[in-house]
């Protein structure tokens, strides 16, 4: 469970030699398959155990505010309109207009064609604009199209790019292809942050999740993200645990910190708090920050606001008092 992976280390530096690991498909495979296997039962038991933690009163209030500030408020529907995106941006800036001290969310996450609308609506605020790219959600397109998709979103003003990895290539063991694609997209991102979506629902095993996490980090991803939200199962606690262990081990060996973003299926305050407990217990305070941990969600925000209202007014609130997104 807590075994730290030990990648090949360039002599004398203490850092893994990425160029050596990624020099060929077989070298990369050797490295990724050399990562310690994940104890499936152990990971699930630990996630289940941590999810029984009881977070109450002032700690809960703190966790609710932190969770709100970590949300990537997401709308990724074919029926999205500029009006809907503007409404969501307004909500991102003032999640609960009736309570002034409600924190802002971290970012708005939209399709590339909606980026200009979101950028315009969020201008001057600290709320970031994230755009999915690279033929989201399936990633089934040529590299040229994926790079054009990415450049398009960055040119439109996206601060963050959520890319999907090529699961077909990954599952058939063509790791170098996946690696090079991520590197190319990272380059196309320029200044923009890159989040690498592993789509763990399609990776089948926790071992694959660990390998994909390392692959994404080695290739330069600033964040690793569980899922697109279009495939079930989306984010789960054990998968997030495996990914958190990966970013912890990666920082221990390379010194570079990578963020984690579970997305999809996180709908209630209780769920969100379970993730925060998991972060705190696995990687600690350093990741309990919107710069390093995000929650990809849409309906979660209303539930958090309802709980916040309950804490303020002392009575249970209802969905009638919050916007439908």
């Amino acid at each position: 469970m807590t075994t730290t992976a030990s990648p090949p280390v360039a002599s004398g530096t203490g850092l893994p030699d990425v160029s050596q690991i990624t020099s060929s498909d077989s070298a990369l495979r050797r490295f990724l398959h050399g990562l310690p296997g994940v104890d499936q039962v152990g990971a699930e038991a630990r996630a289940a155990m941590l999810s029984t933690r009881s977070i109450k009163t002032s700690a809960k209030a703190w966790a609710i505010d932190l969770a709100i500030s970590m949300i990537d408020l997401t709308t990724l529907e074919g029926q999205d309109t500029p009006g809907k995106v503007r409404a969501l941006c307004a909500k991102a800036l003032r999640p609960d207009p009736s309570v002034a001290d409600t924190p802002r969310v971290a970012a708005i996450c939209v399709y590339p064609d909606m980026v200009p609308v979101a950028v315009e609506a969020l201008r001057g605020s600290r709320v970031k604009v994230a755009s999915v790219a690279t033929a989201f959600p399936s990633g089934r397109s040529s590299l040229a199209v994926k790079l054009a998709d990415t450049r398009d979103a960055v040119a439109a003003g996206a601060d963050e790019i959520d890319m999907v990895i090529d699961r077909g290539a990954f599952l058939s063991g063509r790791y170098l292809e996946v690696f090079e694609e991520i590197v190319a997209v990272k380059e196309a991102c320029g200044e923009a942050h890159l989040k690498v979506i592993l789509e763990t629902g399609e990776l089948d095993t926790y071992d694959n999740v660990r390998r994909a996490s390392w692959l994404g980090m080695l290739a330069g991803g600033d964040f690793i993200k569980t899922s697109t939200g279009k495939i079930a199962p989306a984010a789960t606690l054990p998968v997030t645990l495996v990914m958190l262990e990966a970013v912890r081990d990666f920082r221990a060996t390379t010194g570079r910190q990578v963020g984690v973003k579970p997305a999809g299926g996180i709908r209630t305050t209780k769920d969100a708090i379970k993730y925060l407990v998991l972060v705190n217990e696995t990687v600690g305070d350093d990741w309990l920050d919107p710069d390093w941990f995000r929650l990809g969600a849409s309906s979660l925000l209303n539930d958090l606001l309802m709980q916040r209202t309950k804490a303020v007014t002392g009575r249970y609130s209802g969905p009638d008092y919050f916007t439908l997104d």
């Binding site: 002392g314 009575r315 249970y316 609130s317 209802g318 008092y321």
Partner: protein, 295 residues
Amino acid sequence: MSERLSSGGAGNRISVRKTPKLFIGGKFPRSESGRSYEVADSKGHFVANAAMGSRKDARDAVVAARKAFPGWSAATAYNRGQVLYRVAELLEGRRSQFVDEVAAGEGVSRSKATAAVDAAIDRWVWYAGWSDKVSQVAGSANQVAGPYFDFSVPEPTGVVAVIAPQESSLLGLVSVLAPAIVTGNTVVVLASEARPLPAVTLSEVLATSDVPGGVVNVLTGRTDEVAPWLASHMDVNAIDLAGAGDAAATELQVAAADNLKRVLRPQRTDWTATPDLHRMLAHLETKTVWHPIGV
């Protein structure tokens, strides 16, 4: 073989005791708080450990009721009526169990308990019959000074919290529950604190009839503890205070004012008497439509 079984088990068999549980969203959970309380019969003898519902159970019940509301209120009146008749059929099948529980809990003779159970089943059928008739009584075609076909139809209010009568544990319960659900509302009912068992058995009947999960949610526990949370809950649209004391009712009414709930104050009611329509009409809203017609 059968002889051995019967001789071995007859005298010293240990009976399998039932744990009365809550009924939330079609499931039978224990209280989230893990608490229970002793239920005694009218002579003070222990009967069962009932779940002592907490405010969080009430919250979960309201969520379940809200979730069930679109489906139940959109079902045709005919369909709702059929479902409620089905409940009456199953109530009939559990008659003797209800009689036992009512007799023990209320301390009345078996014949009086039987009369109360029969009256409760009949009352259920009486209300079931109203499902497709209430709109004829409560609705109207209105005469207006213009070229409009103007009509008013009754619509369910939404989620109704019911504080069930404390004394009449089955007949009283049915008399406040049936009028709320027959018109399409969904209900969170707080059972009689001292006599919750008929309500628990009724929830078992509801679970095995065709009533969708969440339409009726039954909580057992301390009325004083749970009722204020239902009264102040912003997602509850109406509250029937039948089982609240006069002093408590005023406080609950004040709490209920926050989101302008419809409040039905407790009245001195003879549950054995034939009811009128006011409990059913109390949980209805009126929608009026002005439909233009050619001149």
